[in-house]
């Protein structure tokens, strides 16, 4: 399972000096596949997903995975801004991550040796960090030079950096032929430069003339091949099997199997084909799409082995499974406990800090007059969400939502904001102010708000 650790993920930023890049990167990833957006499209409810992901979701249940609003695949529009941001972020990511990791190591080491508070370290480390990053950049460039092998994905930013350290002072490079010359000579040279015609004249006015652009950018003005036409949906219910077979034959995809399989195959082909139409560059060939359809056929289509999994069968022996996988379960229990202890310790620390602050404030403000007993002690109050920023955010959102919609829903306790958001949103959408209103109505279990009375009983029972 080691390979999983090489999988780039937003959580990589947790162990660096830039933990705030975690939510930033998460925002650049599709909520469905959790990969960086691939051909991002925006729905009519203004949520963005990979083209293929949202197309699959829409054919499964016709709803937006984020807000559950009704969606149609022919209303999807490409989100070019997101595409650009994602691509640029991916270019910048490896270097930024590397630096942020090193930075964390260094600051950890120094804070350990000097036993200072993290805040102080951060401030004092600032100049050192800059130097280090420049060193790292220079080193990596040097390596590139000797090996002739680029270590990082070429990136316009890196090329721009070169220009800040010209090899000879006063010398600049021609943007077209890349020849190095004196600043004053450049303008004359530009008139005669042979590389000028097919290169970026316009750009030289935008930035200083010594800026060189990577090949990929220079070739970008070339118009991409026109998008193939999207396939329209079919009204399967109205089609006989023969007509459908004919349709699949025309599309050049396999035609074997019963009608149900033909429908599913055609649907998947539409996902693959139409999402490929949303691509701007690197559009796949039909051959590649057919290969992807083949994978689908083997895993989910007609050639898939869809036997009921052993673990989900009624006669599955859980006890035996538990003992076969005892070591794995023991490891999992240890992991789950460790994380919980860490969370608990953090919570206690925060509570203590709060108490200290409270005391300090008391001592400063009202010396010796108020009795400490009169002040509510934060220690006795249960703060289930303390330190859980995600849950706090969801609670805040819920309160806001309740205010806006005008309902009096009591809060619920799921710590995952996405669940909360979607639930509240859909309740507001269905116009169901109180799920307890109708006892006959089947209320989704998770939509049940925590009953405050239950909580009181619970705590009295326990204590």
């Amino acid at each position: 399972m080691d390979s999983s650790f090489e999988l780039p993920d937003s959580t990589d930023w947790h162990a660096t000096s830039l933990p705030l890049f975690e939510p930033l990167e998460a925002a650049l990833r599709c909520e469905v596949c959790k990969e960086f957006y691939d051909n991002p499209v925006i729905t009519s409810c203004s949520h963005t997903f990979c083209s293929i992901c949202i197309r699959r979701c829409i054919s499964t249940d016709g709803k937006c995975p984020t807000c559950r609003a009704a969606c149609q695949s022919d209303k999807l529009l490409p989100n070019y801004a997101m595409r650009e941001i994602v691509s640029k972020f991916q270019d910048a990511r490896p270097k930024a991550l590397e630096l942020a990791r090193k930075d964390k190591e260094v600051s950890d080491a120094s804070s350990e040796s000097k036993k200072r508070k993290l805040g102080d370290t951060d401030i004092e480390e600032e100049p050192a960090r800059q130097t280090r990053s420049r060193q790292a950049r220079t080193q990596s460039r040097r390596r590139e030079g000797t090996n002739g092998m680029p270590i990082e994905v070429p990136d316009s930013e890196d090329d721009g950096d070169d220009s800040f350290e010209p090899e000879v002072e006063g010398h600049v490079k021609c943007p077209a032929c890349k020849e190095s010359m004196l600043d004053a000579q450049l303008w004359h040279h530009l008139d005669v430069c042979p590389g000028l015609e097919n290169s970026a004249v316009g750009r030289s006015t935008r930035s200083s003339a010594n800026n060189t652009y990577p090949k990929s950018l220079q070739s970008r003005p070339k118009e991409p091949s026109p998008a193939p036409t999207r396939l329209p949906g079919l009204n399967y219910a109205m089609m006989k099997q023969n007509a459908l077979t004919k349709k699949l034959q025309d599309l050049g995809i396999p035609t074997w199997g019963k009608k149900d399989l033909l429908i599913r195959r055609h649907t998947e082909w539409m996902h693959l084909w139409n999402s490929n139409c949303d691509a701007v560059e690197n559009r796949k060939s039909k051959r590649e799409l057919l290969r992807e359809l083949e994978v689908w056929e083997k895993t989910q289509g007609g050639s898939a082995n869809i036997a009921e999994p052993k673990v989900m069968r009624k006669d599955f022996d859980g006890q035996a499974h538990a003992s076969t996988h005892k070591s794995q379960f023991d490891g999992l229990i240890a992991n789950a406990k460790r994380k919980r202890e860490a969370a608990k310790a953090k919570k206690e620390e925060e509570t203590n800090e709060d108490r200290e602050k409270e005391e300090a404030r008391l001592n400063e403000g009202i010396p010796q007059i108020t009795e400490p007993e009169a002040i509510p002690q934060p220690v006795d109050v249960v703060h289930p969400y303390e330190g859980n920023e995600a849950a706090l955010a969801s609670v805040r959102e819920k309160v806001e939502q309740a205010n806006r919609v005008g309902t009096t829903l009591p809060s619920t306790t799921s710590p995952k904001p996405t669940l909360e958001e979607t639930r509240i949103a859909s309740q507001a959408y269905q116009g169901m102010p109180n799920p307890f209103g109708s006892p006959t109505r089947k209320v989704p279990m998770f939509a049940l708000p925590a009953d405050p009375i239950v909580d009181v009983e619970q705590s009295t029972t326990i204590q």
């Binding site: 499964t60 229990i333 969370a343 995952k416 209320v443």
Partner: protein, 151 residues
């Protein structure tokens, strides 16, 4: 063969390693990324406190467009858990969203433990005791907690 479902599951696994929610843990079994073992620690200040409840999860190739099958293999006493260990949880059925991942599923189940829905009980006895005789309910739950330590 690398498919969207398998790639997503590897990512879910990585996230469970690098950023696990408190009190839950999960990993795929050795030879099959589609089947996972999971553990939920009973939440503090509830009758389930400190229980080590084991679960299995099974994912299809249609994941995340289809929810996984999830069931407890530890013995449970809970209004929304069947005798077979199967769960009655809306987000694993009609309220599923492809944006959920393993961490979201497990934290939902974890909060279900102390927040049962007695309007559509899977275990009628547990549901009735929960409503009418909380002391007895707590006692029965504590029995399963102690049993979970011996598994």
């Amino acid at each position: 063969m690398s498919t969207a479902a398998r790639r997503r599951l590897m990512r879910d696994f990585k996230r469970m390693q690098t950023d696990p929610p408190a009190g839950v843990s999960a990993s795929p079994i050795a030879d099959n990324v589609m089947t996972w073992n999971a553990v939920i620690i009973g939440p503090a200040d509830t009758p389930f406190e400190d229980g080590t409840f084991r679960l299995v999860m099974h994912f299809e190739e249609a994941y995340p467009n289809k929810p996984p099958g999830v069931k407890f293999i530890s013995q449970m006493f809970h209004p929304n858990v069947y005798g077979t260990g199967e769960l009655c949880l809306d987000i694993l059925q009609n309220r599923w969203s492809p944006t959920y991942d393993v961490a979201a599923i497990l934290t939902s189940i974890q909060s279900l433990l102390n927040d049962p829905n007695t309007s559509s009980p899977a275990n009628v006895e547990a549901s009735n005791l929960y409503k009418d005789n909380r002391r007895e309910y707590t006692k029965r739950v504590r029995e399963t907690v102690e049993k979970s330590w011996e598994d």
